[in-house]
Subunit: 310 residues, 2 copies
Amino acid sequence: MSTLVNPSSLLVTGTIGIDTVETPSSRADRVLGGSASYFAAAASRLAPVRLVGVVGEDWPAHHRALLESLEGVDLRGLETRAGGKTFAWGGKYLVNMNDRETLFTELGVVAEAPPTVPAAFANSKLVFLGNTHPEVQLGLLKQVPQRTLAVADTMDLWINIAHDSLVALLGNIDGILLNDSEAMHLTGIRNAVSAGRRILAYGPQFVVVKKGEHGAVLVHRDGVAAVPAFPAEADMVVDPTGAGDTFAGGFMAHLARTGKTDFETMQTALSWGTVMASFTIAAFSLDGVARVTRAELESRYRDFARVARV
Amino acid sequence: MSTLVNPSSLLVTGTIGIDTVETPSSRADRVLGGSASYFAAAASRLAPVRLVGVVGEDWPAHHRALLESLEGVDLRGLETRAGGKTFAWGGKYLVNMNDRETLFTELGVVAEAPPTVPAAFANSKLVFLGNTHPEVQLGLLKQVPQRTLAVADTMDLWINIAHDSLVALLGNIDGILLNDSEAMHLTGIRNAVSAGRRILAYGPQFVVVKKGEHGAVLVHRDGVAAVPAFPAEADMVVDPTGAGDTFAGGFMAHLARTGKTDFETMQTALSWGTVMASFTIAAFSLDGVARVTRAELESRYRDFARVARV
């Protein structure tokens, strides 16, 4: 797992969406969203990233322009499907800014054939499989045969309706990132560390249990690590959408840029994920993480290290 | 706040109880409990501690023997009240080992006149006021006129029925430790950092928001700090009773033994509180924390520093 990785070879697959988000104090209509968009925007702040995804003909030109404006994001794996409709999601955050209701989901092209990994990306070393049906994730994974580290996200839906496929996927990947509620749902264990340990038995080397405002826990065959979230004040939290995806983007990009995937490097990568998420929640859509400079990231990282030192 | 403190001058006031605890897999009948017992047992592992509390004539001799066996606990402030009944509490933990139901509370002597701080303790420098009516806490505080740092715990009951007294107490103390749900209840703010900040406006220099399995946040006039909990596996958690009180004991005793009460020392004290709580939950009653050796504490502290490093 500790081989040197070409820093240009991080690949992400996932959704590119049109999001409509309501919060108690504001709203954003038909803004750029989706797991691959958020991941790529965050990862690109630290390392080049290759994006694989599919949009419909209705995808707004300014969304494309925004992704294209992100230095370090390679869009050669972005397919625009003739006659297709772009994935669209609407959600509403409750007063606590943690729980949310989904108002609508229009799968569009996500319900059709998955995208293809272009030949130019087949030599990617680090792969992040954004949340989708585990059989689709496995199909995408097979198109990256030179990978050295494959990590996936998942969600409750697949635990419910594609449990066996998810278990099969877990036998073919090195790590998984999921929410605490999902980890408990998958294992039936109401303890993040023990749930993570149980998931390791399916095959992965590590599990990152994301706990939102309570931070994250890394359960790795070589050890356990825990970080709090960045202690954001209430008025810093504008829109939590994408926090988990940008956490994953920061985490994976730190591995990509260091060329290391050992436990200690992953422990530090938790903090980079935390830093990315702290910028994401401070604005709608990708605005928080797309705008941030390297100097701002490093300053926030130092702040976090000071706040979370033990 | 940074004056040198005599390490023998930490004082705790609070309950000494007879606890009956049910967990999904086990139970303990009429064991030693209460906030002052737990606090003193934990604090005494690091620094001498003076206990002020009251029990009834029915208090079991083996409970007294257990407290007396703890090196470093000064029991000259322990009153045995003629004709009184000892505070007794019964609780039942749900499967998640986090939520609990109170089965019964027999206030006994706790509903009568509060204990008195003996003259020998009046020169105490660090004071921890365990949870009780805020007017009683204020009355106890006035009996320690040479204090340099006063910290209190509280609970939802007092926020509901003695709000103004609690606010008055906050104007007379340096810090408060409370649960996240209590911080939100007191302030109406569903964000630990912002709720802590609001509580500072009532007068204290710092607030520690305890989040149980999710760790703790220190909101101090000089900065913010956050720690995760020690990542205990499910089978390590035998009985969470007293985790918060022993967290407080470890926190305050670290201040007492260092003689410092600045922000950086409090940040380190969060970790000592975390370490103490991790031993408490591993056994019923005071067993986990009363038995632990200095070497085991230091080893757990190193483990925690490794797990939680950023």
